[in-house]
């Protein structure tokens, strides 16, 4: 992809912003299901499914 030739080096914030967001999602998902049953369970599932959806999106859909 030619765009890379002109791409500036990314800084740490740019590199890690998405991993951090997904990490926070996962952490919330892991902890919430442990604390509470019921309505909050959905929040937990969303948190844990987010990384999976991101992988499916980048790996299978956006080629």
């Amino acid at each position: 992809m030619v765009t890379h030739l002109f791409m500036q080096n990314k800084n740490l914030k740019q590199i890690f912003i998405w991993p951090i967001i997904l990490g926070v999602f996962s952490a919330i998902g892991l902890v919430v299901a442990l604390l509470e049953e019921g309505a909050l369970e959905d929040i937990s599932l969303i948190g844990l499914v987010a990384p999976i959806l991101v992988i499916v999106y980048f790996y299978c859909i956006k080629k």
Binding site: F16, P19, F58
Partner: protein, 378 residues
């Protein structure tokens, strides 16, 4: 980042991963069926369920259950009585050659309402048992557990060093970009970095809690030394009783002490979870977290009177809470499926990492900077 420190991180990542990869692949593969251990046992017909009876059928006395289990093995010693968290209808009683023997244990599953023997489950054979032992201790007991725990520490080191190395490799790449149109090596590298960083928190949590679980036996030993001995101190030196009082009376005393909790399991006198003079009654709450935090209630086995009850100390609480976070068994089927998918992603990360090393082990690249340049080469 300075090239020298980058070099160090690359060295740490390479060797921490290489040493533990084979074992991690084994743990990921054996962990997959263990997520569904219950379902698999059920499918294989290894679990007999209690028949449906009217919902208000009363429970039979625990003494009757005990009597029926003992009748099958009159020369054995009862060790534990336990039941599933979501199944009040049955109790399973274990009988050993002595109160603390670990091999050659017999299990008797009984109907809690009729005291009928339902089944003699075999927990120490079959597919799930083999997977379990490979996953927990490689059939090597405590040394095996601690060895796998050490491999888990290396995994955590590999993950952390991997995150540090993620930055220089991503300087010119968009998040989630996989360079498929280039060499297979670049595709492998991008897949490794992308899957690794996205599943990072889950892998860290499962890795760390796995390491904590590897210490389970030692933590429990320490708890016995630290807490049980203090709780049973007044009985120190007394000769252990030859016969015991009513189990049902002891259960009722424990239940009265913790009316909002449910009896999770019973340790019969003489085991590691009781004393020669006591029944150990382990009570649990009903939320995902309180159901793991067993509260011990010690009941005098002769008089059925309360001796002592204490909250679990922080180190045992840590162990007990780390268990669901490792097993993924606290959110029903959806959580189990998520665990499976993330486990498979982890296998891909391990495999691509191993392949990245294998393919270039003979290729001489003088320094980490060149490696990064090569990875960014178009």
């Amino acid at each position: 980042m300075r090239i020298a420190s980058l070099k160090t991180w690359a060295w740490v990542h390479k060797w921490s991963s290489l040493v533990c990869t084979a074992f991690m692949l084994l743990l990921c593969l054996t962990g997959l069926p263990l997520i569904f251990a219950h379902e698999i046992d059920h499918l294989l017909g290894n679990e007999v369920e209690a028949p449906e009876l009217p919902a208000n059928t009363p429970f039979v006395s625990m003494d009757k259950l005990l009597e029926n289990a003992k009748a099958l093995y009159p020369n054995r010693v009862t060790q534990f009585a336990f039941r599933e968290i979501d199944d009040d209808k049955t109790w399973t009683i274990s009988l050993g050659t002595t109160a603390t023997s670990e091999d050659d244990t017999k299990f008797v599953k009984l109907d809690a309402r009729t005291a009928k023997v339902l089944q003699e489950p075999k927990f120490d054979e079959g597919f799930i048992h083999i997977m379990f032992r490979l996953h927990v201790d490689l059939f090597a007991g405590l040394p095996g557990m601690l060895f796998l725990g050490l491999m888990g520490v290396l995994l955590v080191v590999a993950i952390i060093s991997g995150v540090v190395l993620y930055a220089p490799f991503m300087r010119k790449l968009e998040f989630g970009e996989i360079r498929r149109d280039r060499t297979p090596k670049l595709k492998r590298l991008d897949t490794h970095n992308f899957l690794g960083v996205v599943t990072l928190v889950w892998a860290l949590v499962v890795g760390t809690t796995g390491v904590i679980n590897a210490w389970a036996d030692l933590v429990i030993k320490y708890w016995q030394f630290d807490q049980m001995s203090a709780m049973t101190a007044p009985y120190k030196g007394l000769p252990p009783p030859k016969t015991f009082g009513s189990l049902q009376a002891a259960v009722s005393t424990a239940q009265a002490r913790e009316p909002h909790m449910k009896l999770g399991f019973i340790a019969f006198p003489g085991t590691d979870f009781s004393s020669p003079h006591h029944y150990g009654m382990f009570m649990r709450g009903d939320s995902p977290i309180t159901s793991r935090l067993f509260k011990p209630v010690l009941i005098d086995a002769l008089t059925a009177k309360l001796t002592d009850s204490r909250e679990v100390p922080w180190y045992l609480a840590t162990l007990l809470i780390s268990q669901p976070l490792h097993f993924g068994d606290y959110g029903g089927m959806p959580l189990k499926i998520i665990w499976t998918i993330l486990d498979i992603f982890t296998i891909v990360v391990l495999w691509t990492g191993l392949m990245l090393w294998w393919k270039k082990r003979k290729q001489y690249i003088p320094d980490i900077e060149s490696k990064i340049r090569l990875s960014e080469a178009y």
